[in-house]
Amino acid sequence: MRYRSSGLARFARNRTAAVGLGMVILIVLISLAAPILPLANPNATDLAIRLKPPGTAGHLLGTDQLGRDILSRLIWGTRVSLAVGLVATFAAAVVGSLIGIIAAYYSRWLDNLLMRGIDMLMAFPYILLALAIVAILGPGLLNALLAISVVNIPFFARNVRGAAVGLVRLEYVDTARLSGLSNARILFGELLPNVLPVIMITISTTVGWMILETAGLSFLGLGAQPPQADLGSMLGDGRDLILIAPHVATIPGLVILVLVIGINLTGDGLRDVLDPQLKSGALASPAPMTAVDHTAAAANRAAGTAGALAVSGLSTSFVLGPATVRAVQNVSFSVAPGESLGVMGESGSGKSVTALSVLQLVPTPPGRITAGSVAYDGQELVGAPLSTLQNLRGNRIAFVFQNPMTALNPLLSVGEQIVESLRRHQGLRGRAARQKAIELLDAVHIPDAEARLTTYPHELSGGMRQRAGTAIALSNDPDVIIADEPTTALDVTIQAQILRLFNELRVKRGLRLVFISHDFGVLSEVCDRIVVMYAGQIVETGSVKEIYESPLHPYTRRLMACVPMIGRAEEPLTAIPGLPPDLAQLPSGCYFADRCDLAIERCRAAPIELRTMSQGRSARCVRAGETAV
């Protein structure tokens, strides 16, 4: 019930769909009212007043070649067109859906038989098949209706079968079968109601065509036969008169156009309601750089020293309708040359968004950088033009992403994806680029590097893919690599290999890492310092050794207890109870208080500051430093 009301509400909110529905309803009402409207007899001929233009007294839209009143014929003709279109749609929907659910439900050979038959029908161009059917049955409105209906059956059969096959595999159909329900009860009681939205969607896409095509057949003289007239045959009659009396043909065509526009608008709205995944037009594609609030850009101060990556006071939010999700709040850190930083936190703690914010890769919409500064080598990046960012991206600062399967373009070979990066920043082309690409694949220990250039991502294993992703990141010898959980999607042995690779690159190339992970064990292998994030804030900073030996924030301690670590075997592994707070409705005090067993009254009273405890060591906890905890 809730779904229905929200669906109706969504439909009503969709103004264009409401306009379309209004157009359709108006046309339907007028044509239904034809018998009671004060109209001239649509078939009364009077050659004395033939081909009068619109506006003639007594004939608002003029008369046709036999002196018949066009307005009257139009309204009666619309009735015929609507009736034929709707009946054809209904018939196609019933027969097609029946074929669809039966094919999905019954044995494989019946399914094969039915669907091969449907494929056969679809092997003909749509209108051609309708013509062939009319050729068999002879011209006539009823035969045209039948032809249009038959050629639309495949659309229903295919869509419904597609939806029903998924349902048949679900357990409840088996349950229904075991509980002794008859096949008919399962088909019409269980399956049919569930594929109804698919049927509605298919109707919404086909009904407009069907009205157009029946009008088309009538236009060709293969549909309505005189004295019966529909919009198409009126148009066909007027075709030869187009030079002397254009109104005879143009007016019925205009009505068809308006009617079909109305139907299509309504159909689009209906699809938005019934198919939330589709949401035509509601998909926002991300801009090439994250939007920056004016206030953030204005408040910038170019911080940081030469060669360093310095982030200060960075805040990034997602604006989702009325809610603002504060994904990153007032985050500051810096990475000096020769240093690697780990960012640790649960999923949803804001660590990835922080990393993406550095080069403004957070998708907008919905993301916005609302405050703060990012400086690289003394140059301010927040508010900088796209070209500045593009010159740094993949060049001085490169990314390695979590899932190499989705992060690599499936249609470009590994070689192309490396070479395009070399060409962009170093202008390398042809053989030089190829040579460099081979060197890079060698550097990340991909065997048989030369042959791998023409390999596509799907042909590589997960570990090899991540190596390829790393090779791309290395291509322009960057100063910093930001690696967002690069090992999480891999299994443990591969994980170890990739970590070894990062360590090797760090030592050999003097590479700086900003390494993001939920796993302290992983971070401890490749990082010098660690910042711990929770609910978008930094809650603790320190060296790997300090954090390992004496974590100050209760959250850090819980986080480290979640993952097995060598040398800590005696402690039981425990998940952190509770959930992180809703980032759109953050509490006023400590964000972790609700999950913390050390929380006291003071924790919830006011925002907690990140306190500096000692050189390079800070914590966002009022009880940090208490000897007892």
Binding site: A132, G221, F401, T406
Partner: protein, 304 residues
Amino acid sequence: MIPVVIGISIIVFLIMALLPGDPAQAILGSYATPDNLARLRSELGLDKPLVQRYLIWFGNVLHGDFGRSFSLNRPVINEVMDRLGPTMLLAGSSLMLASLFGLVTGTVAAIRQYGWQDRLFTVLVLVGISTPSFWLGLILVLFFSVQLGWFPVSGMQSITGSGGFLDVLHHLVLPAFTLAIVATGVIARLTRSSMLEVLRREYIRSARAKGLSERRVVYVHAFKNALVSIIPVLGIQAGFVIGGAVYIETVFQWPGIGRMLVTAILTRDILLVQGGVFVIAIIYVLINLVTDVLQHMVDPRISA
């Protein structure tokens, strides 16, 4: 491929077999002499069982023999072949126009999402896919041919005629454009939604993280991936365009197969209908074969 051709041949054969009443009577009309009827019946093999008739018919078809058109009094295959060229010219140029406009406008609308271009696009696409093409053809004739006198109303005789290339082109502009309208709308709409879908993918973020220009991100990384879902629809649209040619050929008096079919149906020249439908269906199968090949070229994942 071969099963599809056999399936098509069965359906086309059934056009004749399902004809109510006596096919010979239907073919020759009510004024036929008993002699002629008897001769045609044995020519069609109507005294033999259905399967045998089909095999004989299909054997003849394989030799290019679709029988003789009674209304034109010439072999069906000759008439069909004469008219195939104009139809392919019309449908081919329409499909190219539709693909070009559809891909370009759909892409622009996607990258200018919610901009004025996108809004204009949405309106145009809606009107495009809702327009009865046979009506639009008349309107265009009225405006461009009658009012402005830019293009001929009709009168295309043959594509190898005396007028030469420019004359053919001159006659082609209006019908090709009219026929392209609906397909343009469908292709453009799909291009827009595919591009929007693809632009949110992670590999687009990766491409941007490399510092690649937006041009390369959109036209290489995104567009190529969008093509994967667009190419099959181009094949389907080819079918719609060939079918739609029936209307456009009638409006513009274009000497193609579509107009031939309509005349053949109205004169009950069933053998001509069979021949025309069969040849077009085979061409449609070939087009779908071409789109399959294109699909393989774009997407390395399906070659396995």
